[in-house]
Amino acid sequence: MLKIIISIISAVAVGATLAGPARAASGDTVKTIKERGSLLCTGHNGSYLGFAEVDDKGKWKGFDIEFCKALATAILGSPDKLQIIPVSWAQRFPALQSGDIDVIIKVTGWTMGRDTELGLQFGRPYFIGPTTILTRAELNAKSAKDLEGGVFCINAGTSIERIVADYMGARDIKYEALNFEKAEELRAALYAGRCDALAGFGPFLAATRFNAPNPEDFVIIDEVLALEPEGIAARQGDDNFIDVINWMVSALLTAEENDVTMANVDKQRANPPSPTIGRLLGVTPGIGDRLGLSNDWAYNMIKAVGNYSEIYERTIGKDSPYNLPRGKNHLWKNGGLHYSLVLD
């Protein structure tokens, strides 16, 4: 009898241990990446247009993928030392904790719950996600006010429902909310003219317009209902890795501020026009050794993917099919929210 009880207790104990969250060693991720020789970064299960999509040659591309490449280049010297692991929205956090991926670069909103309860640490926001409005061009609406009385299609059960209700309520604009559970129905209703406008996350709206039977029939209104800062997330407690991520994003912005591009980076490195550019491109040492990286990491990165502006325009901006206006993702001096950290 005693034996049976002991075996039951030990079985339960083993079960409880197994059921607990499996944590990868949250020590030195940069070291792990260097030893492995490749960075494990997030893709998507399918295509999230503009951010992580697979082209007709089976290669990953998109805004988030470019940041994965930038990080791989910064740490390992080459954008090819990268493995994209396709994960769903829900899988991304457990996949990071279990060590299936090194980092989450997947339009992930920096929320308090994720920051404190999920064991994540966020780098500075690399993208500002606006909630805005896609409407029919024939309505000639320039702002939400012009859509007074219109029908808004909204994804049911999302934060967009509340954002629109708050925004319109505060401005006393009457509207009718038509809620759909699935994105396909939402888009079909807009295309059919059942609703006058679709409220949602900017990149989603850009993709919706791109997929429309006649994309020129739809316009994105230059009015932001709400903003969500998207950050790059790593495992809690890896200070060095977070430093690398923050300075990687900052270097891309410093490059844009100083007009360092993929095309002119070699020229600028040979003859740096300013001390900042000299430090950025590793002509004067400091940018690399203080992070435990090589001193030419930023040069390699800009050579491989370009500066922030080049990444944006190529993947979701005006050189892409989605043509999403930069809006708040401009540099501060162009009316946006992005700025670089001080490179001393």
């Binding site: 219109g150 029908v151 059960g157 999302t158 038509l178 809620n179 699935k182 129905e185 059919a192 003219g193």
Partner: protein, 381 residues
């Protein structure tokens, strides 16, 4: 002890008590463990959230619901939406079903063919597909600016069917519906005992109902408003009148047509189950075809089809949950959105199950009462 187990009645009683105890104990431990797990995860439990405002609106409700309304209101609105589309859809389905059923047993070749085609077409396509097809049809009508005008009083567009309304409040309508039922019942029971009145029951009821309507219309008038409120295009939408939204229409038509096809077959089966002798006897008495149908065939068939019909009606009521696919805010959709927004999964799912249990049990109960009332005495059926 041994003699206790030898007594078969005591033993059976003992085993049953044991099973009951185990079941109750298991359920109780499920509830307690779930509660503890939720507490450990820091998730609030209980129904306190029903009083909190939702922060999101729905576009169709029988009473005013806004983003400031509490969850309780939005859930009630969803429940009423389910009842509205369910009861209307079922009524139309039964009506269609009777017509189709009669067509199917008709000896007229054309009628028979129409009935058969209807049944085969709508019974063999999944309901959700039909809902999508109807919705696509209704949303591909012209936009409000190019709306099809119905004599200037109503408008048909991809925003739905706009119809004029009388200037009556919601309470006026509730009083009218209750009054109609009450007066109808009173007049019918009063007249049934007086031969002189019996012939005039319907005109009498109609007169009283119209009188009630006119009185309510004038008592409940809003000063400065027209008696009839005609919809009018202003900006992006129609102002005034009432809008029958495409989401509602699509779900209603799909349920009516799909249900009609099934009920048609049930009706046909009921009619075919009638002893031919009964119909031949009716004909021998010199009754016309219409009279045979109305006085003999349908009443007899009704008894036979009632149990199957009850099943079908309950099934159709549950099918209203397909509204979620096309954005009709029925009870299921409202509960589903509430779960996402409030995180109170278990409480909301139990409300969802409870709601449908009450609706469908009520239908079942009413149909059983009707069945017992109609059953031919002495035939055990």
């Amino acid at each position: 002890m041994v003699s206790f187990f030898k007594n078969s009645r005591l033993r059976a009683w003992f085993i049953q008590a044991l099973v009951l105890l185990a079941t109750v104990g298991t359920l109780a431990s499920f509830i307690l463990i779930t509660r503890q797990n939720l507490l450990d995860l820091g998730i609030a439990t209980g129904f306190g959230f029903l009083d909190r405002s939702t922060g999101w609106p729905i576009n169709f409700a029988l009473f005013e619901v806004t983003a400031r309304s509490p969850y309780a209101h939005i859930l009630l609105a969803g429940l009423l939406n389910t009842l509205l589309v369910g009861l209307l859809g079922i009524s139309l389905a039964v009506l269609l079903g009777v017509i189709v059923g009669l067509m199917r047993v008709s000896r007229n070749f054309v009628l028979n063919l129409i009935g058969t085609t209807f049944v085969e077409a709508f019974r063999n396509v999944p309901l959700i597909l039909q809902v999508f097809v109807w919705y696509a049809i209704f949303t591909h009508l012209p936009s409000p600016r190019g709306a099809i005008s119905i004599f200037g009083f109503g408008f048909l567009s991809n925003r739905g069917l706009m119809l004029p309304t009388f200037d009556m409040s919601g309470w006026d309508i509730v009083i009218f519906v209750l009054g109609t039922g009450l007066f109808g019942y009173l007049i019918a029971s009063f007249a049934s005992s007086r031969d002189a009145l019996r012939r005039h029951v319907w005109p009498l009821i109609l007169g009283v109902v119209i009188a009630l309507f006119v009185v309510l219309l004038f008592i409940g008038r809003t000063p400065g408003e027209a008696i009839i409120n005609v919809p009018e295009l202003r900006g992006l939408r129609f102002i005034g009148g009432v809008a029958i939204k495409p989401e509602f229409s699509a779900l209603l038509v799909a349920i009516a047509v799909f249900g009609g096809a099934y009920i048609g077959e049930i009706v046909r089966g009921g009619i075919l189950s009638i002893d031919r002798g009964q119909i031949e006897a009716a004909r021998a008495l010199g009754l016309s075809n219409y009279q045979v149908n109305r006085l003999v065939t349908l009443p007899l068939a009704f008894r036979a089809i009632l149990p199957a019909l009850a099943n079908q009606i309950i099934w159709l009521m549950k099918a209203t949950t397909l509204g979620i696919a096309i954005g009709y805010p029925d009870y299921f959709m409202v509960v589903s959105t509430s779960i996402n927004q409030s995180g109170q999964t278990i409480e909301l799912l139990s409300l969802l199950m409870g709601g449908f249990l009450v609706i469908n049990y009520s239908i079942g109960f009413a149909m059983n009462r009707l069945n017992r009332h109609l059953a031919i005495k002495g035939q055990g059926g």
